[in-house]
């Protein structure tokens, strides 16, 4: 295909892309069903499921009672009996209510029964801050679940990946946790038509550069890209990696990049301490890429506090473009 007659790329929002993925999955496979609180007639807390209930009916788009633990338990049980539920939480924070089912059941059953069963379960978690929803509705808890063997944890940052990773998750025989950033739901981007999957466990190099590697997750990918463009005007050539999957982590892409640039900045919205960036940093420090580091590794993560309600403070507790910019400059220009 040459550039002249390239058809105009179809754009969808991140939320529409997810809805399209669920539509395709429901259409293709009668064992797929959607579960969650207010996902039917109401269309979901963030209107992601929309009118799918009209197309597939209440047997396949199932409103669950206001009990995350109960709903998750039904979803795990359904998965064990051969269905492929896609379970939506209203807010990722409510995973805390369902931890028993996620951590002790979904993640463990395959191992404890010697591989004789699997749990083809997908859970969708609207995550992150920026909506003024305060401490109990704004967290980024992907590292909690990323710590559990038996779970796969992904964080799509674009509409295209939101659809591709959801379809990959449905096809996966094991539980896959998808953290969708609430602020990204309205973001538009190119989304291919029809069925495709984005590989779980594979990061994407969003911008090639030679001076510093920025590994970012979720919405921070966009902040990192904005930073990289700003810094390029000053002659700093940053490589931006969208991690996409927290577990299993794409070691090769990150290490190759660090071997090339010799500098690493990790940017993520979850609380900095014991977060995703700690794992990325340790992975590099433990590898042969260590010998290529020409500056200390720097992490930018969420502040060590609950997300505040005050909109200014809410912005202040997660990394913003000026923070990333300053950190990258310091690393590249040898100030740390």
């Amino acid at each position: 295909m040459n550039a002249q007659n390239k058809p105009e790329l179809r754009e969808l929002s991140y939320a529409e892309a997810i809805r399209e993925a669920m539509d395709i999955a429901l259409e293709d496979d009668p064992s797929v069903l959607l579960m969650g609180e207010d996902i039917g007639v109401y269309g979901g807390a963030f209107q992601v499921t929309g009118d799918l209930v009209d197309k597939y009916g209440t047997d396949r788009v199932l409103d669950t009672p206001i009990s995350e633990l109960g709903g998750a338990g039904v979803a795990v049980g359904a998965a064990l009996t051969g269905l492929k539920p896609i379970f939506e939480f209203q807010f990722s924070d409510f995973a805390a209510l369902a931890m028993e089912q996620i951590v002790n059941q979904a993640a463990k059953v395959r191992f404890m029964l010697g591989g004789s069963v699997s749990v083809p379960l997908v859970m969708r978690f609207p995550a992150g801050s920026g909506t003024g929803a305060a401490a109990q509705h704004s967290q980024s808890i992907e590292a909690w679940l990323g710590h559990v063997p038996g779970l796969k944890v992904v964080q799509p940052s674009t509409p295209e990946d939101a659809k591709g990773l959801l379809l990959a998750a449905v096809a996966d025989p094991d539980p896959v946790m998808i953290f969708e950033h609430k602020i990204l739901y309205k973001m538009k981007g190119h989304v291919p038509e029809g069925y495709y999957t984005t590989p779980i466990g594979k990061a994407a190099v969003r911008r090639a550069g030679k001076d510093v590697t920025i590994v970012a997750t979720s919405i921070m990918v966009h902040k990192a890209m904005e930073t990289a463009e700003k810094l390029s005007a000053d002659g700093i050539d940053a490589e931006v990696i969208d991690l996409r999957t927290v577990r299993p982590m794409d070691r090769d892409t990150v290490l190759d990049s660090v071997r090339k640039t010799g500098r690493l900045v990790c940017v993520y919205e979850g609380v900095k301490t014991l977060g995703v960036g700690a794992e990325i940093s340790a992975m590099v420090a433990e590898s042969d890429a260590f010998d290529f580091l020409d500056a200390p590794i720097v992490r930018l993560g969420g502040a060590e506090c609950p997300i505040p309600y005050n909109p200014e403070l809410e912005k202040a507790v997660v990394p913003q473009v000026p923070d990333i910019s300053a950190a990258v400059r310091d690393v590249v220009q040898g100030r740390v």
């Binding site: 010799g262 010998d291 290529f292 580091l293 020409d294 500056a295 040898g334």
Partner: protein, 437 residues
């Protein structure tokens, strides 16, 4: 406060060293830089200089094997009160590596006793393998320095708190290339460096190493020669000798002759390799009455040909990768030159001024890859018993030059041996020399 003398780390794999002999008796005064003791590792024997001036006390017994970094003696200042003799020295069990052997409370190591009080933590930081310890540097800078054969201590770091960055190493290597290419260096003055092993008896052997080498190159041969006192002269711009600007071969001969005269020997055997052997011939031409024998390994000066490309390559190399291929020209069996050997050789050549001095010297002595001096006539004149030892696979100087020697000179020609028979055929060469010196 007394200065602690420690067992130095002289090669990279070394875990412990054996004290062969002390050059100074307990209670005697030694000057900083004087030969203090000889050590033997599983690979080499080496002389170690005094780290400071002072009076030698509490020396570990000769023959004892001591882990690196452990105290083997103390040097006291004049008039300083001498502490008590320690109970014992840290020793190495024959079957155990020292790191597997935690210091048992029942066996007090020398450093654990409270006497002498607070041994000074002074260490020979310049010793090979130690270089870079305690230097602030990024992992990338360390990797580049390692690959380039540069010791971090030579570098000035431009990073935070003086940290050496990769860019500092790159710049340094680039500067070195420029320096090597122009062969500009800061000429020094002073007497040539001489080291001794005084254990043997009788007529001493004076040894002169080859171009781009140093006194340590005799180590493989020395076990065969230790029945005699050994005296090693280091050429200008080599080893620890001053980086003199050598204008011609005659000046080089003068420098060596002055050094030889200062030794005030009645009789000496001369042993030289390559350029060092040429200097032995030149020395014999004027100092013949004092010579007992002349022993020449792959001598220069007996014909015009020399592998200028290899000399040039060795002089210019600033990193192990570029030095290795040229070092392999020196031997017939390339496997003898391991990567570790090359790294150590590059470490010994880490000083840019040394490389530049040698580059300049090569330009004077071997312009355009030709030996600019001819000692065939001198060799004809000499009557001292002389033997030439040469490898027939020598890729630096053609062994056929040996055929220029007059009939009374004994020739020992080795098949499948390169330019360094003293390394490649150490035992055989040692045997031949030992039966004559």
């Amino acid at each position: 406060m007394p200065v602690e003398v420690i067992m130095p780390k002289v090669d990279m794999d070394m875990a412990s060293g054996k004290i062969m002999c002390w050059h100074v008796a307990v209670g005697d005064t030694v000057e900083k830089g004087d030969p203090l003791f000889d050590i033997e590792t599983d690979k080499a024997a080496m002389e170690v200089e005094a780290p400071a001036s002072g009076i030698l006390q509490h020396a570990a017994p000769e023959g004892s094997e001591i882990p690196i970094g452990k105290a083997i003696a103390w040097l006291y200042a004049e008039g300083e009160e001498v502490g008590e003799q320690p109970d014992s020295f840290a020793s190495v069990d024959d079957n155990k590596m020292p790191e597997q052997q935690p210091k048992a409370a029942t066996e007090p190591a020398f450093g654990d006793t409270n006497l002498p009080p607070e041994p000074a933590p002074e260490r020979e930081t310049a010793l090979a393998g130690d270089a870079g310890e305690g230097v602030r540097a990024t992992p990338a800078a360390r990797r580049l320095a390692r690959d380039g054969g540069v010791t971090l201590a030579e570098l000035r770091g431009t990073g935070p708190r003086g940290r050496v960055q990769a860019s500092d190493v790159r710049q340094y290597l680039k500067d070195l290339d420029t320096v090597s290419a122009r062969a500009t260096f800061l000429p020094e003055t002073g007497a040539l460096n001489v080291t001794y092993s005084k254990r043997g008896e009788g007529t001493p052997i004076v040894m002169i190493h080859g171009f781009a080498n140093d006194a340590t190159s005799w180590a493989p041969l020395e076990p065969s020669l230790r029945h005699r006192p050994l005296i090693r002269i280091e050429l200008p711009g080599h080893g620890k000798s001053p980086r003199l600007r050598i204008r011609d071969f005659a000046m080089l001969v003068r420098e060596v002759r002055q050094t030889f005269d200062a030794l005030q020997l009645d009789q000496a055997h001369l042993l030289g390799h390559s350029l060092g052997a040429a200097l032995c011939i030149a020395l014999a031409d004027t100092r013949e009455p004092r010579l007992a024998s002349l022993n020449l390994i792959a001598p220069a000066g007996l014909g015009p040909q020399i592998n200028g490309e290899a000399l040039n390559g060795i002089c210019k190399a600033t990193r192990a990768e570029s030095l290795g291929p040229w070092l392999r020209h020196l031997v017939a069996d390339e496997d003898r030159i391991t990567d570790g050997y090359v790294r150590l050789a590059m470490q010994a050549r880490g000083d840019a001024n040394l490389r530049a001095a040698q580059f300049a010297m090569a330009d004077v002595l071997f312009p355009d890859g030709v030996q600019a001096f001819d000692l065939r006539a001198a060799l004809q004149r000499i009557e001292t018993p002389t033997r030439i030892l040469w490898g027939k696979a020598d890729a630096i100087i053609p062994w056929e030059h040996a055929l220029q020697a007059p009939g009374r000179v004994a020739l020992h020609l080795f098949d499948r041996i390169g330019h360094m028979p003293q390394l490649e055929a150490a035992e055989e060469v040692g045997k031949i020399l030992r039966s004559h010196v």
